[in-house]
Amino acid sequence: MHGFEQKKIGVLGLQGAVQEHIMQVEELGHNGMIIKKPEQLDEIDGLILPGGESTTMRRLIERYDFLEPIQTFHSQNKPIFGTCAGMVLVAKEISDSSDTHLKLMDIRVKRNAFGRQKDSFEAELPIKGMSESFKAVFIRAPYIDSVGEDVEILATYNNHIVAAMQKKILVSSFHPELTDDTRFLQMFVDMF
């Protein structure tokens, strides 16, 4: 492929839909790597924080001292993509909670904002920069209830922000890794 540069993309492998992201990364011809130890971050060009249980992931991030290494990774200007729980993890602020996590992105996120599993849904969503809609799968999903000045909003559902970008961070409330559609991941790779 002309101009194609293979990237090494890590997926935080503490819990959640890790393999689904790895498969999509490989489908785009890049190199996927499961990250279980902080020192592995040195080996990758970009990091995906997958969907899963954000409470569980946060505890494991603390327990295995991932907090600072991921913040350092970000300060080196390397891109990060958070889906669902991953979006909760990168937020500066969590609604109705004093818990914060990595505090990397200027957004305030509401957890389980659409309700419990019975309210989980899929919908065809228009996304900024994509000519065709995207099948967005929301599972006990969070949304963004406020954003800082330089955050670009990429998608909304019922006036709630469900995808956004700030500098080298991309987030979505929904799960592109549960579909066959790699356009969202491609958007992440284009940030490299």
């Binding site: 249980e53 957890r111 599993q117």
Partner: protein, 295 residues
């Protein structure tokens, strides 16, 4: 924008988000909070853990809705609850209460000895137990969005869960390598829906997540099941029947995440206190074997 709820993707996806995690049995909000703090990905709200159900005897039913509600209000992680095999109304009640997942479970006394629930009819997703690929495929055919081994619940003995996990894996591998013209006979022999087997053959794996359950009592047990290819683990009696539930819960979560880090598992296993007392399977009377419930 129109939205679709209760789709296959949404139901199966919920289980995919639980992968690599531990789902813990709890009987009240206090235990649920301990489970959440230790890093559980979900809790199963019950009236009694399986080993107490064994001890109590009698008919085991869906938990008192007050317990389920108390647990739902106590934590932010997903809450599962058990309905009896084939008990349409227990399942509908749990769905109406808004539980995140229903376990159509052999731990409770079956309500129907012939028919399992038609799980595709529900918005809430279901997990079901299986001992082999035939059973797994039948449950998928009925709409289960997640599987688990049956194991032998409430025994603290891992042997049956190992047997069931190995069996399903071996049968999946066999189907994957079969030629197309052998598949229908395999479906007949397993008692499995042909379409489900075809899907497995094409993708090389089960179409839903498969957790380990039924007898996991220690961090090493949890890691063993992950090593054997489980997507995650359910721990029933193992945590709150141990000497030190907080420590046990946290150690089992860590051992599941880092199942091939043996130094860590060794470290975690030190100073845990006593695990639950186990039961030798051959000492169980035939009628006390929960795994024989359902088909």
């Amino acid at each position: 924008m129109s939205k679709l709820v209760g789709t296959e993707t949404v139901k199966r996806g919920m289980a995919q988000m639980q992968k690599g995690g531990v789902i813990m049995d709890v009987v009240n909000a206090e235990q649920a909070k301990i489970a959440e703090a230790s890093g559980a990905v979900a809790v199963m709200a019950l009236e009694r853990v399986p080993s107490d159900i064994r001890a109590a005897g009698g008919v085991a039913r869906m938990a008192d809705p007050r317990i389920v509600e108390e647990v739902m209000n106590g934590v932010t992680i997903p809450v599962m609850a058990k309905a009896r095999i084939g008990h349409i109304v227990e399942a509908r009640v749990l769905e109406a209460m808004g539980v995140d997942y229903i376990d159509e479970s052999e731990v409770l006394t079956p309500a129907d000895e012939e028919f399992h629930l038609l799980k595709s009819d529900f918005t809430v997703p279901f997990v079901c137990g299986c001992r082999d690929l035939g059973e797994a495929a039948r449950r998928i055919g009925e709409g289960a969005a997640m599987l688990r081994t049956k194991g032998e619940p409430g025994t603290g003995n891992i042997v049956e869960a190992v047997r069931h996990m190995r069996k399903v894996q071996a049968q999946v591998r066999k189907v994957t390598l079969m030629s197309d013209d052998e598949l229908m006979t395999e479906a007949k022999n397993l008692g499995a829906p042909y379409e489900v087997l075809r899907q497995i053959k094409e993708s090389g794996s089960l179409p839903v997540v498969n957790f380990a359950a039924g007898g996991i009592a220690t961090p090493a047990d949890a890691a063993l099941m992950m090593e054997l290819g489980a997507d995650g683990v359910f721990v029933g009696s193992g945590i709150f029947k141990s000497e030190n539930p907080e420590k046990f819960a946290s150690a089992i979560v860590q051992a599941t995440t880092h199942y091939n880090d043996y130094d860590l598992i060794g470290k975690l296993s030190k100073e845990l206190g006593a695990a639950m007392k186990g039961i030798e399977i051959s000492k169980l009377n035939q009628q006390d074997r929960m795994q024989e419930r359902g088909w």
